[in-house]
């Protein structure tokens, strides 16, 4: 970690080696934050200050720095290593530390906080505690996207989809509110510096609520670029199976709890928590490894339009230029092009290429001329009909004043 200057901002992150933690560290460093990473394992970056930290041990000491915020992400994913009481006590130590120094504390909770499972109960107890100390509780739905790390719910889903040839099709399907891990990290960093979030329990809504089946299908299609057979699974059966599993194999209860966490997802509006809309992205975009499927979308569209223009498979070079041009229009918050404009753009790109009509040498044989004449007659008729259609609104030109 580099030596600090006077104006540097410090952020304390617990659970920094986990899935959300890693992405938060990346985003924080990108935005110029200095990070004090509290985690069991050393974080993946070397430009942060690592302080070894375990939930089952007291809060460690770290060098005094001008800390601007604390983000508490650490939790016992296995559900058996740390007792619930100890997990709550560890959160309390952190909350007290932040409260005494007047530093805003953000606790990342879950959509499932409060449900009658171990996970839900622990989350709810920590939430109450954090609110008591003036912290902010941030509830989120299904965090997804980015690269895989830790052993969160998204990692678990990803593993299932990757390993098994089938995906469950739950009946009825539980609803999920997906939020991309980068969107979450960006919001957290922005919220740390924004006054007005203290003592509030918020639900971050990325603008999309979908069924779990839809999410799994997108996971196959966009992240793994594969196809999996959806197998109908009645939700009641799964629920019964997990109860049995917990009773029969207490040591495997974390697996059952993970399944429980999935199927017991409550509708957001039913939780009665203040919902905060944050800038988000669709799963189709977020599930790409790059975090955005926009370029792929341009490439697909370019391929389609250029094929229609050229009458054959479009050269890759032209398709790539099409995608770049569409992106160029949006650089710096520029207006994206309409569908008609994108078609005109494709025409402009064809025109500026060796495949342009002006670059073609047409054979002067009788059949070539006949076919071109027939083509011209057909499209001429179409154009004339189009003109007749538009005549009433475009012609004659209106004279003002």
């Amino acid at each position: 970690m580099t030596d600090t200057g006077r104006n540097e901002r410090f952020l304390v992150v617990t659970g920094a080696s986990g899935y959300v933690g890693r992405h938060l560290l990346d985003e924080a460093r990108l935005q110029g934050w200095q990070v004090i990473a509290l985690s069991r394992r050393p974080p993946h970056r070397e430009d942060v200050l690592h302080v070894p930290y375990e939930l089952c041990r007291p809060l460690p000491e770290w060098p005094s720095k001008p800390v601007r915020g604390v983000v508490h992400l650490a939790y016992d994913a296995s559900g058996v290593t740390v007792s619930p009481e100890r997990e709550v006590a560890a959160a309390e130590e952190l909350a007290v530390w932040a409260h005494q120094r007047g530093v805003p504390l953000f606790f990342l909770s879950s959509q499932n906080a409060g449900i009658p499972t171990r996970y839900g109960r622990v989350k709810e107890r920590i939430e109450d505690l954090v609110l008591r100390y003036g912290g902010t509780v941030v509830r989120v739905g299904l965090i997804y996207g980015g690269y895989l790390a830790g052993s969160g719910l998204f990692w678990q889903l990803d593993e299932w989809v990757r390993r098994f040839p089938v995906i469950p099709f739950f009946i009825p399907a539980p609803r999920v509110v997906p939020i991309h891990v980068r969107d979450l990290s960006r919001w957290l960093l922005q919220a740390v510096e924004t006054p007005g979030y203290r003592g509030r329990r918020l639900f971050l809504y990325g603008g999309i609520e979908c069924s779990l089946n839809y999410f799994l299908w997108h996971l196959c299609r966009y992240r793994h670029r594969t196809w999996r057979l959806p197998v109908p699974v009645p939700l009641t059966g799964v629920r019964g199976l997990t109860r049995l599993l917990i009773r029969a194999f207490p040591r495997l209860s974390w697996v059952a709890q993970r399944i429980d966490g999935l199927i017991e997802l409550r509708p957001v509006m039913a939780t009665g928590v203040e919902v905060l809309q944050v800038p988000g992205r669709s799963p189709a975009n977020g599930l790409y490894p790059a975090g955005s499927g926009r370029r792929r979308q341009w490439l697909r569209e370019g391929h389609r339009i250029l094929r229609r223009l050229l009458g054959r498979r479009a050269p890759g070079l032209l398709v790539r230029h099409y995608a770049r041009a569409c992106e160029a229009a949006e650089i710096g918050g520029g207006r994206s092009l309409s569908r008609r404009e994108r078609t005109l753009l494709a025409i402009a790109l064809v025109e500026c290429s060796p495949w342009a009509p002006a670059q073609q040498v047409y054979p002067r044989s009788f059949w070539s001329r006949l076919s071109r004449g027939a083509r011209l007659m057909f499209w001429g008729t179409v154009a004339f009909l189009g003109y007749l259609g538009s005549r009433f609104r475009a012609y004659p030109p209106t004279i003002s004043r």
């Binding site: 402009a348 083509r375 154009a383 003109y387």
Partner: protein, 542 residues
């Protein structure tokens, strides 16, 4: 704030009019300061053929702009004004001038060379009938036409049916060769001249400020096809080209980046306050004579502000114009041209038989292949892919045309508000509707005899102001009132201030006016030279 009095004259604006006056004054031995709002000249296209340059797919950025600027402007604009080079020339004009519009599209330039960077290079002389409203004798202007034509280089034919209309007596270089569709049309016209003229259409070769023979550092036209984007060989005249020559003259001080903010007349003469666009500092400039050539709207703003004439509408002249497309079946299935001239190849005049053969509209014809295919497709009524499939085969046999009407058919006003905003209100007179029908009918019949079809649905009237021919806000009058100019362009109420750009034109017939504006600027500068020379001789004799 600094005061400078080391020049005999200050010229504001480095457009065609300003540079014509600067040259005239420098040749008269004056020390001249040229203030210009522009800093960087417009980018020029490469020195190669368009069809070769287009073979590289990476060059789309050059044609469309890094951020696709060509797609940002509305469809009604001329394709020439949508190129990235033109966008760079036109950028920031309305914002800097503080213009509010209603039913009018304002187009202006702050770049060195002004709007001549994007002009069509059409040359036409005003004749006796056109100058009937002017207090200026036709002969005085005729001499100026000849001087300016020698300087900028004009090519065209002096022996065709338009010789009377476009001006006979200016020195001309040989015309550029006609490209196939225009050539076919012109041959047919010559065969059926009487029938075409009976339909009210007269056709002839265009006069363009384009070199067909080298002149100084400028090369002759190579027909590379880049005309829409400028000319890398500098065969097309534009004022920025002349600026490079003039800057070497010891009598000229060129100060770029100066935006003329205020004008007033003090005891020591006229004073101009400018804003340095780079540093944000204000400078004050004084001289015995200040010549305003910063474009009709900017000059009008300065003068109205100096006279305190707020909230009073002033008439603005602007020519209504229309566009259309012609199809020549005889050229169908012809290959695309590799080399061609992209500006006007043929010109025409539409006359009214009912009005004794009086010209009611005039225009030019261009090759459709000079305009990007996507531009043509964007005007197609229907899905662009259908348009592309039709036009890719049709383009070699298409000609595009534009026609200008007299500005008396327009009804535009400019008002300077007390908040410093210039409000431009535009509209056409009701008579224009009937004129448009009359001209369309003549074009359809006339070109039909020439073997060309006027494509249905292609006739379009452009938005008021999109013709970019603004004039007449401070017109020359024999007995001028406040806010008008005398025969020499002297603004009444502002001693020592002369307007020399298009704002002084009392009328605007159906002709391109840039050449006349340059000739008039030369005439005024010559008159100013003579007036002050006499005054100084008189002072010395005392």
């Amino acid at each position: 704030m600094s005061i400078s009095t080391q020049w005999d004259a200050i010229v504001v604006g480095a457009g065609p009019a300003g540079l014509t006056a600067v040259r005239t004054l420098l040749e008269g031995g004056w020390r001249v300061c040229l203030l210009d709002a522009g800093e960087r000249p417009a980018p020029l296209p490469p020195r190669m053929d368009l069809w070769v340059f287009r073979q590289n797919p990476c060059h789309w950025r050059w044609f469309l702009g890094d951020r696709l600027e060509s797609f940002r402007t509305p469809e009604q604009d001329s394709p020439k004004l949508r190129t990235p080079a033109a966008q760079a020339v036109l950028a920031g004009y309305s914002e800097t001038l503080g213009i509010e519009t209603e039913g009018f599209r304002v187009i202006g330039s702050l770049a060195p060379g002004g709007l001549s960077n994007v002009w069509g290079a059409g040359v036409a002389c005003f004749d006796g009938a056109d100058l009937s409203d002017w207090p200026v004798p036709a002969d005085a202007l005729q001499e100026a036409y000849i001087t300016v034509a020698r300087r900028i280089g004009v090519s065209g034919s002096a022996e065709d049916d338009l010789a009377d209309y476009l001006g006979l007596r200016i020195p001309l270089q040989p015309p550029l060769p006609l490209d196939p569709p225009a050539d076919v049309l012109y041959r047919r016209y010559q065969q059926h001249r009487r029938r075409v003229q009976a339909a009210g259409l007269i056709l002839g070769r265009s006069r363009n400020a384009v070199l067909s023979e080298p002149m100084g550092r400028r090369e002759a036209c190579t027909r590379c096809g880049f005309c829409l984007y400028g000319c890398g060989y500098q065969a097309i005249y534009h004022a920025a080209l002349e600026l490079e020559d003039l800057r070497r003259h010891p009598g000229l001080t060129y100060v770029p980046g100066q935006w003329a903010e205020r004008l007033d007349v003090g005891l020591e003469g006229p004073r101009l306050t400018t804003l340095d666009r780079r540093t944000g500092e204000r400078h004050r400039w004084t001289a015995s004579v200040i010549l305003l050539a910063c474009g009709t709207l900017a000059t009008t703003r300065l003068v109205l502000d100096a006279l305190g004439s707020f909230d009073r509408p002033v008439r603005l002249l602007s020519q209504p114009s229309m566009g259309f497309a012609l199809w020549l079946p005889k050229c169908l299935a012809q290959p695309y041209l590799e080399r061609f001239f992209g500006l006007a190849q043929l010109s025409f005049v539409v006359t009214s038989r009912a009005e004794g053969g009086l010209p009611i509209a005039a225009g030019n014809l261009f090759l459709a292949c000079a305009v990007p295919l996507w531009e043509l497709t964007s005007r197609f009524p229907g899905p662009p892919i259908w348009g592309y499939r039709l036009l890719r085969d049709l383009v070699p046999s298409l000609l595009l045309g534009n026609a200008l009407f007299a500005a008396s058919l327009s009804d535009h006003t400019v008002t300077l508000g007390r908040d410093g905003k210039l409000k431009v209100r535009g509209g056409y007179r009701p008579e224009l509707s009937q004129r448009l029908r009359q001209v369309t009918r003549s074009l359809r019949r006339g070109f039909r005899y020439c073997g060309a079809w006027l494509l249905p649905g292609s006739v379009r009237l452009v938005t008021p102001g999109a013709d970019v021919h603004y004039a007449g806000t401070l017109p020359h009058r024999r007995f001028p009132r406040l806010g008008e100019t005398d025969v020499m362009g002297a603004v009444v109420g502002l001693e020592g201030v002369y307007a020399i750009d298009a704002s002084v034109l009392p009328s605007l017939p159906a002709k391109a006016h840039t050449f006349t504006v340059m000739a008039n600027a030369h005439r005024i500068a010559t008159a100013v030279l003579q007036r002050y020379r006499r005054a100084w001789v008189y002072q010395r004799s005392l």
